[in-house]
Structure formats: C-alpha cells, structure tokens
Symmetry: C2
Subunit: 198 residues, 2 copies
Amino acid sequence: MGEVLSSSSRKEQVIRVAAELFREKGYVASSMRDLAQKLGIEAASLYSHIKSKEEILHILCFDMAADFMASLEEVEKQQDLPASEKLRKGIIGHIQVMAQDLTASAVFMNEHRHLSQPSLRDFLLMRIRYINRFKGMIEEGVATGEFKKSIDKKLAVMTLFSSLNWMPMWYDPKAAIEPVELGFQLADMLINGLKQNK
Amino acid sequence: MGEVLSSSSRKEQVIRVAAELFREKGYVASSMRDLAQKLGIEAASLYSHIKSKEEILHILCFDMAADFMASLEEVEKQQDLPASEKLRKGIIGHIQVMAQDLTASAVFMNEHRHLSQPSLRDFLLMRIRYINRFKGMIEEGVATGEFKKSIDKKLAVMTLFSSLNWMPMWYDPKAAIEPVELGFQLADMLINGLKQNK
DNA sequence: CCTACCGATCGGTAGG
DNA sequence: CCTACCGATCGGTAGG
C-alpha cells in the first residue's frame, strides 16, 4: 500500500524514520528538522520526497487502516464459522497486522487525531465501520447463545479494542511470546475471562 | 493533591479549562494563547496563576495519580478478601476515580509523556508500582486457584489497564450506565469473559 | 490582569 | 539535496 513513485524507496525510508520519531515524541512535538537530522539531510530537502508533514501522518494512518480492513475481510469470508470463532480470528488478525509494524501501529492509535479535515473525518468513519463489524460478531454470538445475554455490547467492543490497541505500548517483539500466540491468549482472556472454570 | 494558595480558586479554574483544551487538541498543540482566550484574558496574564505550561500538566497528572493510589489503598486494607474480589474492587475503584474527572483522566493517560525529567521518571515509577499491585492480585488469584494457571500475567494486567484507561475515550457520562455499574460490568467481562457458562 | 516585547523555533518555499 | 530565507507562532518576562 502507499504510493508508488520513482523515488518510492527513499520516500518509504523517510516515512519509516518519521514513524519512529512520531512514536517517541508525538506528531506535534516532532519537527521536520528532527526528522531531517535523523536522516542526515537538511530539513528543506525532505520536501523533495514528501509534500508536507501531514502527508506522512496520512500515509501512516491510512496504510494501517487498509491493512486492518484487508485482514477483517479475510475473516468475514468464512461465513460458516461460529461467532466466537470469527471473533477469535478477527482478534488474531488485528494483532498480526499490528505486529507487522508496531511503530506505525502506535502512531495510528495515538496520532491520528492530528489529521486535518477532511482526512480526519474519513479516518474516523473507517474506524467506526471497522469497530461495528466486530460489534456485529459479538451481537451474533449473543444471538446464538455463545455469549452471555447480559453483556453490554458497547462496553464489550470498546474493551476489546482498548486491549488490542494498547498492545504496541507494551508488547516486546523480542519476548518469548509470538504475535499469533499473543492474539490467541488475548482472545482467550476476553472470551473466557481470567477465572478458572470448574 | 493540588496546592492551596490564596488564589487557588482561579488557579483551579485555569487548570480545569486547560485540561479540556489538552484533552481536545493534545498538550503540545495547545498554546497558552488558546488557553488564555478560553478564559477571556491575555496569555501573559496566565503566569500570575501558574508558573509554566508544564506546571499545569504536572498538577493534572500527579493529582490523578494520587487519587488512584488512595483508591487502591482502600482496597488493600481488606486483606481477608479473596483475590478475585480484591481485583473486582480495585477495578471499580479505578473506574470511579476516572469517572470523577473524565477530562483529567484522558489527559493523564494521553499526555503524561510530555512531562520533562525528573517528573516523567517519578510519574512512570508511580505507575509501574500501581500496576504491579494489580498484578499481585492476579498472581494471588492464580495461587489460590481462583484464576487459571495458564494465563500470561503480564498480558492479563496490561489488558486490564488497557481496558480501564481507554474508558474516558468512549464513556458518555450522560448514558444510562453509572460508573459503579460500569466498573462492575468491566470487571465481570475481564474475570468471567464474554462466554456463556453452561 | 494588561501592554509591549523577546529569542527560539516552526512548516514550508525559491531557486539552484 | 543544498543555501538562504519567510511569516507565523511559540512559551515566557519586564514592568506596571
């Protein structure tokens, strides 16, 4: 994803280094001079690769969004699965997409609000649609009796996404646990809870 | 919590309005001129109430931290409770503290990283100590057999805090559900999971 | 709480 | 990719 230009390789490098900077200091506190220094060039030279500071943020946020959408579509193709299995696969897919680029994931989560209009509106619309498709899985699970009738669906889906989206803040890719296993355990905790079932 | 000065009422108003601004735009993107305008005064006049922009952030973050600590200490006094009940009460207490000031809670969560040293170190140390006390409850629950032996304790406690800390981002205080009930349901979801137990 | 102001830094452009 | 530069805005101070 992203745009393919003749200078795409250097542009991608600029974006990758910018993502690290944005993650560390936040988008607003990261200056184009900081970014240029990390790349060993002058600030003005950045503009031969990108149109603006915001273009970088836009690419980071919308590329991640596209990856999340593609992952979810794979899960939704499997229409015959029980809702709890669809949810589990959706969670694992979401975690895998994040694990592919933890830096961009952190920027996606923490910095998207600095997009200006109309991009911000587009972004938020995509996000609400994505969340609602997970909410649909939970509702389906309640309807089939897999999940409790007593759950507050909004609370359930927001708790789910809180857990998922904070993962880049604490997950150490050098740790023993792999992304798929992490997704599996996270899904287990949310679906089955901490409690030992007798 | 908070400093008591002769001008404390006006100072508190400055801090409350700043919290709203920081929540909306982020700390770095909020200018002292924005804040002054919201208060109907000139930017320079702010400095008769506060020492610096960062002092406001410092007060917001450390006052919230003190409230969280006080709430947790109340729970830990009840040493005879089973671990799962301690955890439930800890969760409800955390949610109640946040619900008392959703704006400051959002700033606490999203903007603390803009504290400079040594405040940032102090803040992060307090936070890790707080989290570890919840981790202790989970470990106790595993030891007593209340919780599953198979759970990854780091994942469990980080999932817990992800869910708690994002609450200010989506909870609508005008909604039907009250903070204590919200805490109760959140604890139920994390402890018992979504699944219908046969 | 105000007027008047400061040095620093910001994102970005012109022109090569 | 560079030099040279721009207008705007930043947090904060002096002095009242």
